[in-house]
């Protein structure tokens, strides 16, 4: 029986998980993706180094999520080659916790190790949710739920952590705390991170490298040299910000060019 092949593809064709070269955590060559006549990614090349924190900016509908989903193995890569590590984890904009499993069970789900529960609890401690291990997900606040989703990703010791606008639905204060937490977790665990965001400040605050996706290609590839920990308004921050906004076709006053 072809159970659920339409809704839950196990592994999208064209995406090779497994051994990547020492040099790159992600290697994409000539990736083209079309939805009908809408060509979203056009012959795109991308390389991410191990442990590198990369932010991916782009206008709404520019194909950021499509690229991230391809790397996650959720979407086919019909044209081009995509090489990613087997150990990957994804955090989406919504926490996507299973409401009928307690928080620790959500984190332990799919972990094929003996002490899965202990590991899950440790990961939850690490994101500050040690006191909500047995809570039902729907009783968590938005920030707590997103931290649980982060714990669920980190407990898998990913070589590649894919974040698709994970803070977009949070209030401003919670977002700031979450950004600091992601920076700290990245430094502690050193996965390669691809953070999809539409928030230029967030990208400058967190990333080693910032990419701008436009017309299906990487239109801009900037290395961020600012020292960490970074603060808004530090020297160099605004210049970088202006450059990125320009690349996104937005002037500082917010009007589109």
């Amino acid at each position: 029986m072809n159970m659920l092949t339409e809704i839950a593809p196990a592994q999208a064709p064209g995406v090779t998980p497994g051994v990547t070269g020492e040099k790159f955590a992600v290697e994409v060559r000539g990736l083209t993706r079309e939805f009908g006549t809408n060509s979203v990614l056009r012959n795109l090349d991308l390389q991410l180094r191990p442990g590198e924190f990369t932010a991916l900016l782009g206008r709404s509908g520019s194909g950021k999520s499509t690229l991230l989903r391809t790397l996650a193995g959720l979407d086919a890569a019909p044209e081009g080659t995509v090489t990613v590590p087997a150990a990957r984890a994804v955090v989406f904009q919504e926490p996507r916790l299973l409401p009928w499993k307690r928080v620790w069970q959500n984190v332990a789900l799919g972990l094929r190790v003996k002490d899965a529960r202990k590991r899950a609890e440790e990961a939850l401690e690490e994101v500050g949710l040690g006191h909500r291990l047995k809570a039902w997900p729907l009783t968590l606040s938005g920030g707590e739920a997103q931290r649980a989703a982060l714990a669920r990703a980190l407990v898998r010791s990913p070589k590649l952590l894919l974040l698709d606008e994970p803070f977009a639905a949070l209030d401003a204060l919670t977002r700031l705390r979450m950004q600091a937490m992601v920076a700290a977790l990245w430094q502690a665990h050193q996965p390669a991170v691809l953070l999809v965001t539409h928030d230029v400040d967030e990208a400058v605050l967190l990333a080693d490298r910032i990419l701008v996706l436009d017309h299906g290609r990487i239109a801009l590839d900037l290395t961020v040299e600012l020292p960490r920990p970074r603060r808004h308004g530090a020297p160099g921050f605004n210049a970088l910000r202006a450059k990125l906004l320009d690349a996104l076709g937005v002037r500082e006053d917010g009007a589109t060019v």
Binding site: L4, A8, P9, A72, L74, R96, L98, L109, G110
Partner: protein
């Protein structure tokens, strides 16, 4: 003294005092109806032959219990519903899962079930009697048919409505198809299944009433039909009361099942109280 300090214990005692108050309120309307009924019969507004007094109904109910007529008939009715629901429900679950989880299943099963469900199953009674006689089988088959379709339809659509975002998340966590079905899709379908179960219970009682009134030598429906032959309207009322109580009891049972199976729902967490 601060407001919050006095307010906290007050809500505690209020909650405990609330239970009988709510029960009294719930009994208000039925009580008024019985009082009105009593008043009307006492003053002779009704024909005593066709409309019994509340006292007469109460008395005959008591007599049915002490003479031992109630229990065996109640038991056989319950048994018919339980067996019919068990057969119809299981078949409904199996068919719904087979056709909602696989294309092959859907193509081979769904169209047939959709056609069959448009047929009012009670219209099959004459055939049932010809095929199965007048024993237990036709009654149980009728109840099974009545409960099969609500379960099938609700479970099928609940499985199909499982959130694709959660299914996708499960696949990023490395869950296999079978694991995804058990951890994501089936739990997601439980609320819809319970809606189907509720409807199936309703359909079962209706099927039972009809089956027992057409031909039976035992059961609550038999008591009622027998009472009609002897113009015992008080016993007919007793039968109606039993049906109402059974409906109420099964509804409470489904509610309890809901509280257990859907313990993760915020509304249920809140109702349980900390």
């Amino acid at each position: 003294m601060s407001v919050s300090l006095t307010a906290l214990p007050a809500t505690g005692t209020m909650r405990r005092r609330f239970v009988p108050v709510r029960l009294l309120r719930q009994l208000m309307v039925p009580g008024a109806i019985i009082a009105l009924w009593y008043a009307l019969t006492v003053h002779g507004y009704f024909d005593a032959q066709t409309m019994p007094t509340p006292q007469a109904v109460g008395l005959s109910f008591w007599q049915l219990i002490v003479t031992g007529q109630m229990w065996p008939n109640l038991l056989i009715s319950l048994q018919r519903v339980a067996l019919g629901l068990a057969f119809g429900g299981s078949l409904g679950i199996i068919l719904a899962l087979a056709s909602s989880l696989s294309r092959f299943g859907e193509d081979s099963i769904d169209a047939t079930v959709q056609m069959a469900r448009t047929l009012p199953h009670l219209a099959l009674i004459p055939l049932m009697i010809l095929w199965f006689g007048i024993g237990e089988t036709p009654k149980i088959v009728l109840i099974a048919l009545g409960s099969l379709f609500p379960i099938y339809l609700n479970l099928f659509s609940a499985v199909r409505a499982a959130d694709p975002k959660l299914i996708e998340a499960a696949s990023t966590l490395g869950l296999s198809h079978v694991e995804t079905i058990f951890h994501v899709i089936l739990p997601a379908a439980v609320p819809g299944f319970l809606v189907g179960l509720r409807q199936a219970l309703g359909a079962s009682w209706i099927s039972l009433v009809v089956a027992e009134q057409i031909n039976a030598s035992s059961g609550i429906g038999y008591l009622v039909m027998n009472a009609r032959d002897f113009l015992r309207t008080d016993i007919i009322f007793d039968g109606l009361i039993v049906y109402a109580l059974l409906g109420l009891a099964t509804d409470q049972a489904v509610r309890a099942l809901e509280r257990y199976l859907l313990a993760w729902r915020p509304s249920i967490i809140a109702a349980k109280g900390a």
